[in-house]
Each structure stands twice: as C-alpha cells, then as structure tokens.
Symmetry: C2
Subunit: 525 residues, 2 copies
C-alpha cells in the first residue's frame, strides 16, 4: 500500500462533481486536493537500532531480510485510521519502526522473539498494515528500539483437506492471494472484510476480523480451526477438533490477541466449495427500525442470507452503499442488501424463505441491481475517504454491536455523541449507519462520519472519539465489533472485561512474554 | 438423584427378556440383579471439617445451609461415571465431601470462596452431579477438608429478553426447570444432553456440554452470551455483545473451566421461540461410511437438521437408538435420525433440502416412526447401564471428535483399542458407535462399550480407558467432545493444549485462585 493513504495508486480517483457539489453545499468545502509529498522526501526519525542489534537480527533471518531502508520503514509506520493518515499528511518528522524484519517461517519468528527478548527490542507484528485502531503503531514502550516483524514471507498454503473443508494458511497470505490459492482447489474462504484486498490471514485472526459475508460464513474467529503461535516462551499449537470439551478453548485467547500475547504464524481455517451460484436481491424498508426488525426475523428463523446489510436513512439517501452512484439520485427509506451463495438448491430454498420473511416484515423487493452494485464497489470506500481528507473533509468510521433490543438505543446514543461532540466544535457532522453483521441475539452498527475539518483535525476527531467510546460503553455496546483494540480502544477495555479480566490478560501475557516485548501499548491496559 | 445409580427410582426398570437372553448368549451373564444397599447403612468417611470451620461457613450462608448430614454428603460424593457407580456399589467406606454448603446467591458464593481461601478449605462446585469424568469428586488436594458447594438455590430466571432472544439463568437451574420457566415466556433453550433431566445450567457452561439438538441450536458454549463468575480474586462479568473484537474472548476461558478457575453463578443464554412445528424423519444407510458422507454433505451445504445422528452397524443392529425395542428385531445397515424444528416454512424448506441430499447420498427414508421412538427414549440409556452393571456386565460410554477426513480412522483406532484392551483381559467387548454432533469440518463419535465384568471391574475399565485415551490422542482426536476433563481426562490435557498451554491455564488459575482451593485435581494438570 502507499505510505500516506489507502491501497494502491490505481485505486485512487477524484470525487465526482456531484459529491463535490454536495460537500460545498453542506460543509462549505470547495478547495482542490492537497498535493501529496513524495515518499522519499519525508523526514523520518533516525533508526534507534544499534548495529549490534541489527547484526543479531541478520544472524537470525539473513541480511536480505532486515531492512532499515527509508521506504520500508515508512511503509511500516502505522495503520490506516483517519488519524494515521492525517499524521502522515502533516509536515514534520514521521515516526517509524527502527527496522523491518522479514522472517521466513515459524522457526525464524520464534528465534526473532528469543533474540528480542534477550536484547530488549520491542516487536510489532505486521501483516497487511490495514489496522484502523493503531494496532501496528511503532510503539517502543520501555524499550529503546522497536522492529516491525513483517510476516509476508509466511505465505504458503501448507495443507488442504477438501473432505473436511479445511486449509492451513500462512499468516502472511493476503486475502486475494489466499482466495487464489484456495480457488485452485475449487475452494473459498469467504472472508471479505473491507480490508480484504490488503489484509492478511494472520491479521484477520489476531484482530477477530469479520467479513461482509459473515451472515453466511461466520466471523473469522468462527472459521479458525487451529492456530500455531510463536511466543517468547515457545510455541502454542491449539485446536484439535471441530469442537471439544477439553477445558477452556485457548484458541479464543489468541484470536483477538493482536500480537500482544504471541504471533500467529499459521491458521487452519474452515473453507467451502466455490459457490455453485449466487443470488442477489435488494430490499427497501420505510425506516431503519422496520428494516432492523425484518433482518432480525430472518436471522432468528435460521434463514440468514450470505450477505445481509441494512443502511439507515442517511446512508441510503447518499447512496453510500452503491459506489457507482454515491451522492447521486436520492433514494428514500432504507436499503437492504442480500446475497445467497451455495448450491442451487440451497440458494433457492434459503432465498425463498428469507424473501418471504422480509416481505412479511414490510420490505419491498428492489431486484438484483442494487445488490450487484453494492458488491461491485464494496472495497472502494477507503479510497473515497482519502479523497475527502485531501479536500479538507474529516471522514472516519467506527463500529459496535449490541442486542436487538438495545440496537435503536445504541444507535441514537452514538449518533448523539458524534453530533454533540463535533457540533460542539462548530463542525456538525453527517452521521450514517448500517447493520453489516447479524446474529440471532443482535447485530453490529457501522457508522460513517463526515464533517468539515478544523485546523487540527486529529484533535478534533480525538474529542469525538472519546465521546463516542464513552457513549458506547454507557449504552451497553461493545467498544469494537470487528476493528479490534490496538491503541485507540485500549482505554475502554476495563469497561469491557472488568479490572479482574484485565488482570487475567496480564497474567497470560506475563507467562508468554515476560519481558513485555510483544506489541507494547496495544490491547492490554 | 439416587446415591448409587443414575436418576430417580421411578426411572429404573428391569432389562427385557430379550436383552437378558442376549447377555447370556454373548457374555454368559445370567445372574439376578445385585441387591442395593440402603443409603443409611453405607459407611462414610468421617467429616474432616472442624467445628470452627463449620461455624465460619454457617456465618456466611446460615445454619440451614451447611450440612454434614450423612445423606447430603453421600449424595455429593461424586458423579455418575461407571467407575463412580462401581465404587458406590463396592463394600467399604465411601469418601464424601466433609460438608455440603448451599449458598443463596452470587454474593454468598464469593463470600464462601473468600472464607475457604483464608481457611484452606477445598471447594468442589456441584450442580446436577451428573459428571461422568470425575468432575465433582471430593478431592482434597493439599487441604485438610473439602466442601461441595451446591448451587441449587441459584435457580432464578432473572431477565428474559424475547426481542433479542436471551435469558439470564441461575447456575443451579436444572434443564427441565429452565425449560419450564422459559416456556412460560413461549421460549426454549433447546439444550438436551443425555443428562438433561438432572444437570444444571452452570454445569452445562462449566463443562462445554453439547445437547442432542446441537446441529440446530449449537453447543452450550455457542449459546452463552454472558457469564457471571465468582472467584477468590473477585467477580468476572464477561460478554458485552453478540460478538466483539475487543481482544481475546475471556468467556471461552470459563466455559469449560470446570470449577477450577472460578464458579459460574449466572449465565445469559440465547433462547428461541418454542418451535411452531417439528418434523421427524429416519433414514437407513447401507454402511457407516456412506451415512457419514451423507451427513457431511448436508452440514457442509448449510442444511443441517435440528437433531442429526447416525448409528453404526453394531448400534443399529441392537436398536440402541430405539429404547422401546433395544435388542429386539435386528435391523441392518445404519440408522440416521433427523428432526427439524422451527417455523412451518423453515421446517418445510430445511427438511426438503436435507432430505434431497440424504437421498442423493444413498439414504433410504424410513418415515417418522424410528425418529419419534428415538426422541421418546432419549434420556433412558443411563438407566439401562445401571441394570447392566447390576447383572455383572460392564457398560460405559466415551466420546471424541475429529475432522470428517479422519473420522473413519479415529473410529477404527478407538474400536481397536477397546477390543484389544478388553479382549486382552479375556472380556471381548461389544463396541457400538454413533455420530451425534456434526460440524462443517467434522463430527463427534460416541461409543458405547459392553463387556463381561471381571472381579475388579474398575481396574478392568481403567486399562481400557488408558488405552483408548492414548489411541484417541495418537489418532488426532480430542480427548473429549462433550464430557469434559475432570480427573479422568486430565492426563491427556498436555497432549491437547501442549505444555505451554498448560502453563497458560496455570497462570490464569494462579491469578484467580492463588490458594488453589477451586476443584483441586480437576482439569489443570
């Protein structure tokens, strides 16, 4: 990915005249995009890694796989949250890891951890670098130096079991590469988060990622059958069966461990045959509550589609769900997207059952076109954020989840916190929301926030983020449904698991990482 | 439950003439049932609890709720594995907890744990007492005394949320009582393990129980939304949302914690409306592998029934799945049971899709009768075990799980280990097996073993159990799919989670239970 924005250069495109008109009208923003700095010209903090340490790491992974190169360091300087991107675009010296290390395999990861434990070097595991919560920030903690441990060379599919529907994937495989290699076996993982094009298998596991097809294939944590984990205290190999009663499920300590308890090097996941067929069907509901109740009726009946989403009135009105027509022809009500994948018989049965329930709950069928359009543009939103940021518009997303009964309350409280905190700074926001992940007992809420930038947009957003985090916790939601904790959500972890839960996490960390080198400042308060 | 057998007296009935004939023919066993001892006459180890300690506990829960009564102690002397029952039926002094304490609520559980930590008394949490792995054995560890902490008074349904489909249940509620209280709201939990009639909600959670309707409603660990846990270090309240990425899922440390890390006092579970309708359909397959492949095709298509079972040739031949006709008219091939619950539309759609797949995979539809018969007798098998034990027949069950690709191998290895180890003692067994829990990536295997008893049947079974445990681990299965660890499976936990995994468990236990009073000798090696 490019160093100061999302994705690859080819993905970036200017905003349409329609959107620019809208921005001028709503926020009074009409400037030209800010020129980007050339990557080579960016002043970078000098590497704090001594030549001794560098030699020590070279002895572990080889000279070609330890880099203090300017570009390598800059491209491992952090993730892709809006504050991250604003920091990159700001003038001044950029922070970055003191070196980037590229281990070849699990054994080298173990050896690097042993070396760094002995020599007091912090280690930030790095997959696709798509964190939007500060998860890959080069935090040194109490150490003099920090390295990014880039896992891209762990890119093998080492075992495929088409009978059981499992595959063992290297942590460094990106989403598209994993799908390509599985596709050669007629298989698919079916995990399509918005970060899909760049994020890694290890990252999906370490952050409890959830993809757009989660209603059909489950969250990534549901898919994980087995994990291999390197820690300073040795190797963990967890998961012996599809299900077990052999005590606590320790896998669940490491999915979501964000590199703070160990480094996931290999993941055995559930896969499925490439779907025989896919059906698309969009729906319109008069309002969000009616739509949410309709989604609930389907999920609780056991008839969930593969993709199941509902945009609220604001998001529907701006066509944010349809990348080809964002900001275009206004649409009223709330748009829902369904897709159904599988065998022809399964798709026919499931789409008929779900469709009948959605219609009975007040839905109006819109045909397949809006659903196909959504699918076509589903990875494009982060590129649009870059274009907005360039124009002086603040744009960020956040997400939470709660029970169905609490969903409207949580949505109102989050919206109010955003409106009050940004409005209070003189920049009233547009707040849009959708449900993108559904469960029998509740659903996620994903918010997109757009406002005019102030002179210090990082501080501007920090105020809003603090208010929203407090509002989410007070309203009974989880601080994050699928973006993970990183640095940004760490203040709310005690509210999430209690002080005693924090002590449990610390006890596990102490056992596995007694020197505390693993991803300092992330996850564990 | 009665002290020396399963269940209640009304459930016990003599074996049919057909079965007795079969037993005489196969094992040469033809005696009359052994007379049971009167509960009051059983010599019991004297209580080791000093009067000071007893007074201390009375101060916490009240005089009416601390018992050193003979019957109370005897009925908390252990679980219901075959070795447990054989020990009870043996002559000689019985071991038992030194007192039974009945706390009223979470606060009293916390206070009892604080008291026992301070005064060095071991605590065995006790729900329904149905453990078949030694999970409630009165093990003192390094302490002078042990109490059974009976949670039956924690029997409230404190919250019901019919919108979200959740209910908050006291840990001491039994299965039938929970269903009764939920039924008043038109709701059901749908968790029906063989222990259903006596086991408790807290026990289901603490042991990762899995019910006969797991294909439809999931395992109990899937149902758990929130846990309240009392530990010597304080209270944990875990689970804020239907799904979360807020770090490791600490709930998964406590489902399956078997009272060794904390005591679950309240569980919020997913519930569903009492099904509108239930469809029953039995199937016959020519052999187990064909049947297993058929089940796999259905689960992997996303079309699983609510109940989904397949008996192997031996189990089918003895009609073990049909309590009304056990040992009766021989049936060939392999019997599969399906039931479908839910709305009429869901049942119609799902049963049609699953039925088409089963037929395509070589299944022959047998109509609803065998499935209804299975349901009618589904909690009766443990009573039959008692009758067999009385006649000098050894009868025990064990279970494991693995991937679909490894299922036939694991079944063969377990069968061989049982046949060799019991045959080697001159008592060749009948080994029957069924699949009772299915997943996209694999399934459970549940074995019933019958053989002639030797003079020391506990030692006889111990040899077989050791051989089977080693065989399961060597063949890649999990040491237990739903019976839990207790004392009996503890030797294989290092094989299950590795030495480093054991260190993680110990670190968590040390943090939460520094004195080590919680269920000594169970779970943690």
């Amino acid at each position: 990915m490019v160093w100061d924005a999302w994705g690859i250069p080819a993905g970036h495109k200017p905003l349409s005249a329609q959107i620019r008109g809208l921005l001028a009208q709503v926020f009074g923003v009409s400037g030209d995009p800010v020129a980007r700095r050339d990557e080579g010209d960016v002043p970078l903090r000098a590497s704090a890694l001594s030549s001794d340490r560098r030699d020590g790491l070279v002895a572990v992974v080889g000279a070609d796989h330890v880099s203090v190169d300017h570009q390598d360091r800059l491209r491992h300087a952090g993730g892709k949250s809006t504050p991250d991107l604003l920091r990159r675009r700001a003038d001044g010296t950029q922070d970055a890891p003191d070196a980037v290390v590229f281990p070849a395999d699990h054994a080298q990861v173990l050896a690097v951890l042993a070396y760094c434990t002995e020599h007091a070097v912090a280690v930030v595991p790095f997959g696709g670098g798509t964190s939007v919560v500060g998860g890959v920030d080069p935090v040194r903690g109490r150490f003099d130096a920090v390295i990014a441990l880039d896992l891209r060379r762990l890119d093998a599919v080492s075992r495929v079991d088409p009978i059981s529907g499992t595959a063992t994937l290297g942590a460094g495989l990106t989403g598209p590469r994993a799908e390509e290699l599985l596709g050669a076996h007629g298989l698919s993982l079916g995990h399509f988060p918005q970060s899909f094009e760049f994020a890694s298998i290890g990252g999906f596991a370490a952050t409890r990622s959830s993809g757009q097809a989660s209603a059909g294939y489950g969250r990534f944590d549901d898919m994980v059958q087995h994990l291999t984990i390197a820690t300073p205290s040795g190797t963990l190999a967890l998961g012996r069966a599809p299900a077990s009663a052999a005590g606590p499920d320790l896998r669940e300590l490491f999915v979501g461990s964000e590199g703070a308890l160990g480094i996931i090097t290999e993941v055995t996941v559930r896969v499925h045959p490439v779907p025989e067929t896919t059906a698309y069907q969009a729906w319109s509901f008069p309002d969000f509550e009616t739509g949410a109740a309709a989604l609930r009726s389907v999920v609780q009946a056991g008839a969930a589609p593969t993709v199941f989403r509902l945009s609220d009135e604001a998001e529907t009105g701006l066509n944010l769900a349809r990348s080809g027509d964002v900001g275009g022809n206004a649409v009223s009500g709330c748009l829902a997207i369904t897709t159904f994948e599988g065998t022809a018989a399964h798709v026919a049965a499931r789409s008929a059952e779900a469709g009948a329930l959605l219609a009975a709950a007040g839905g109006k069928a819109l045909g397949d076109k809006p659903a196909r359009e959504w699918e076509h543009g589903r990875f494009a939103a982060p590129y649009m954020r870059d274009a907005l940021l360039d124009l002086g518009v603040l744009c960020e997303t956040l997400e939470t989840a709660t029970t169905w009964a609490n969903l409207a309350n949580l949505k109102a409280k989050v919206t109010a916190a955003l409106t009050d905190s940004l409005g209070g700074q003189g920049t009233p926001p547009l707040v849009m929301c959708h449900i993108s992940h559904t469960y029998p007992t509740g659903a996620s809420l994903y918010f997109t926030i757009v406002a005019k930038q102030l002179d210090d947009p990082i501080a501007q957003w920090h105020i809003a983020k603090q208010a929203v985090g407090d509002a989410i916790v007070a309203a009974g939601g989880t601080i994050t449904h699928h973006h993970a904790v990183g640095t940004d959500h760490r203040p709310w972890i005690p509210a999430e698991i209690g002080d005693l839960g924090v002590r449990v996490l610390r006890a596990v960390k102490q056992e596995l990482d007694p020197a505390g080198i693993l991803n300092p400042g992330k996850l564990v308060p």
